[in-house]
Symmetry: C3
């Protein structure tokens, strides 16, 4: 693995899940990261991603440096050819090339604005780092994807599934704010690579990007979708068609105990943070069906597996930022 | 020790003070924390507590992860059964259970609002972490107590006392803002567990919580209280009776050289940060009577003793956050 | 080396540059910092300085604690004798003495206000730390100097020079904001200690402090200055005469390819962050003449050399903060 920006960066998914499961046992002392530095750059807040990735790096023996872009430093310019006479003090060309000299791996979180679909889909922050950094880049959630979460989800399903080909339902749920599509996007891509029977439930107007969904069935009747599900992944997202809009806050989509009874005693997943009694009712989150805590715990091992595979790749990309 | 939230969590105070004094000698290389992670979560600013506790963890071989709740992540919901449709993105139930998977000890700072006594005394942040975390929780100063400071103070007095049973005076002093009662509360509790002659001096209206004070004499005449004192602990706090109010900024309560002459050449203590010429005059702070710097230095060893005892306890509380 | 606040703290410049070059090879495992703590305190934002110095400390085996003064803690009072009844919660006397107990070296960044020349030149933050800390203090860029950058620049020139005595030109360039003089000041001081032919080019009104410039020629015609230059250091600064003012945004001073042709195929330097197409044109920054990335990479080794020399000094200054 050279970078971990999209799921397409994974060369052997099953091997990566197995590696993460092995790392979870934790009995081997890993020295592969010794003397190596992981730099984590946050353009947006983070709790799980921040702490689990920091921990994953340290479990591999790495030094970890964490920076809040913005409050710790300054605004970056991403536009080629810009005359930098505004409030943006540094161009990504320099920032990425310089960070590449201080860090052996650069991990970046950069959310979408949810205003301009084309701009968000250009993934300018992540792609600029990929273009101008001379070291591997890891996606800590970008405008359109969250591949570390998706790997975590795959590990969690593979740990908990009780049949060869479980039915997995991703269901939209109401939320007071318009949220990115990054988690449902990456989950949907991941499910297409696992041996599962996968369907998406969402209200009309909330269908995910058809290029990501491909042939995954979308059902606009939640009850119908939930029937016989072995895993239910609850998540809010904003509209893709009416890009970035909140079209509904329909609380009949909240996962209640009653709705859960439609399923095959399904395991309930969520990437967290979860809005209680909006996305999932207390009675479900506090029941044994909820695996959200175990799922969050797996974040560490998913990140550790990715960082380990990148470190093992060893061969450093040697292009210089300024020549890229 | 399972947690360190209140002084009542201490099983053997004298042993803990002795341990801290031993750790201060610093000649043994400690490996007890190797591969263990301390997570520090700050809901409020910190200098001494932040750095001394981080250092204490590292001296024990721990990895330390520091987070500013709020600026680094988002607001937490603490109310049971809340429909989370406001600005609070994550419930403490999830946050505490998830952090418990990334950290072997969670340390939390959460100040009071000083608006609603009942709410502050409920210590909802610390108690929620205690309830929902599956690992030990350490209090880095909460709404009503600062037990790491109190242990530091006990260590400092035990290092410096020149008689079996010294006279210790806690005196209120003026301050431009209304401050919490956490430091005087914990100090008062601690003094009741040490072999000292303890009195509190404060203006009328500033008597501390009677449930904490118990039979400790309160004197409203500072000069009378200071007489023959071996230790004077200066500190501002807001009113408990008129909860959270600043009733006075009476600068005749500032500790001056003249006032110090009433004492038995007392050692002068303060938890810092100290407002010079409000709480204590320059002439006192810059004299040999002041032990505030030594006292602050002891923060590291108090924290180290607490973390070490918790790590030694080993037996991890195994309750799951979601079942608590 | 006891501190590294000004270039005058360097005892043997050539030895220090050689040390940095040796450290850059990176093949020796250094244990000199083991069990030692570097505390970094930022009153202003930072990217390169923050990460390169943190990395330098860790490469020496040190623990590194980073704090944003202000957002992580509170405002400091620097005035002697102040009655602290305003928004400043802690006096530098206590802060420096306390940090000295948690850290073996304290590194501080504190920019100028650019409003009051006398105040800025008093370097109250750095000098107060030097005065009240009992451990060595390192300047991470102060009101009037940036000696870690200057050492980096000297290392870079010594790596790249192709003749015994190269011609080095420092040239002013336009910028939308009024910037400090710290980088050009320290660079100018450094150049006076290297075997180089050094000239400064800037518009009228932008002559640097004559006490720092001394006999360095100042040329107000950029083209004339650039002639036959082997190194061109581009940088904006505000006026010293009309202290802190932006007198010009004259873009004819931007370094273009055309201007570069006046030089002896000069290497182009900048401390970064650089405003593209204001300070230096894309065509130059993206050419092989630009060495700004290599220069930024050298920050790590300059910092490492300074920290190593300070650690080797071993003999701790033992003055107590409160007696200073």
């Amino acid at each position: 693995m050279k970078n971990y920006i999209n799921l397409s960066d994974i060369t052997d998914l099953q091997a990566l899940i197995t590696e993460a499961a092995e790392l979870k046992k934790g009995d081997s002392t890993l020295e592969i990261g010794k003397g190596k530095t992981l730099g984590m750059l946050f353009f947006n807040p983070s709790l799980r991603t921040r702490l689990s990735t920091e921990k994953a790096g340290k479990l591999l023996g790495m030094d970890v440096m964490v920076m809040n872009a913005g409050s710790d430093s300054w605004k970056l310019e991403f536009e080629d050819g810009a005359v930098m006479d505004s409030d943006k003090a540094e161009h990504i060309k320099e920032a990425a090339a310089v960070l590449s000299q201080y860090c052996d791996i650069i991990a970046v979180r950069a959310f979408p604005d949810l205003k301009d679909r084309e701009k968000d889909e250009a993934e300018i922050v992540l792609n600029s780092f990929k273009k101008y950094a001379s070291v591997p880049v890891v996606n800590l959630e970008s405008a359109t994807g969250h591949p570390l979460q998706a790997l975590t989800d795959a590990l969690t399903i593979s740990e908990l599934k009780q049949k060869e080909r479980p039915k997995v339902v991703l269901s939209w749920a109401p939320h007071p704010k318009a949220l990115p599509q990054s988690v449902p996007n990456s989950f949907t891509e991941m499910m297409q690579n696992l041996d599962v029977d996968y369907v998406i439930a969402n209200p009309k107007g909330y269908d995910l990007n058809p290029e990501i969904r491909k042939s995954v069935p979308v059902i606009h009747d939640q009850d119908e979708a939930l029937k016989d599900a072995d895993f239910v992944y609850m998540k809010n997202w904003s509209s893709y068609e009416n890009y970035g809009q909140k079209l509904s806050e329909d609380r009949s989509w909240t996962l209640s105990k009653e709705k859960l009874e439609l399923t095959n005693n399904a395991k309930v997943m969520h990437c967290l943070p979860v809005r209680r009694n909006m996305i999932i009712a207390d009675e479900v989150l506090d029941s044994d069906n909820s695996v959200v805590i175990q799922q969050a715990g797996n974040r560490t091992y998913a990140a550790q597996a990715v960082l380990k595979e990148i470190l093992e790749e060893k061969v450093k990309v040697t292009k210089l930022g300024k020549n890229a």
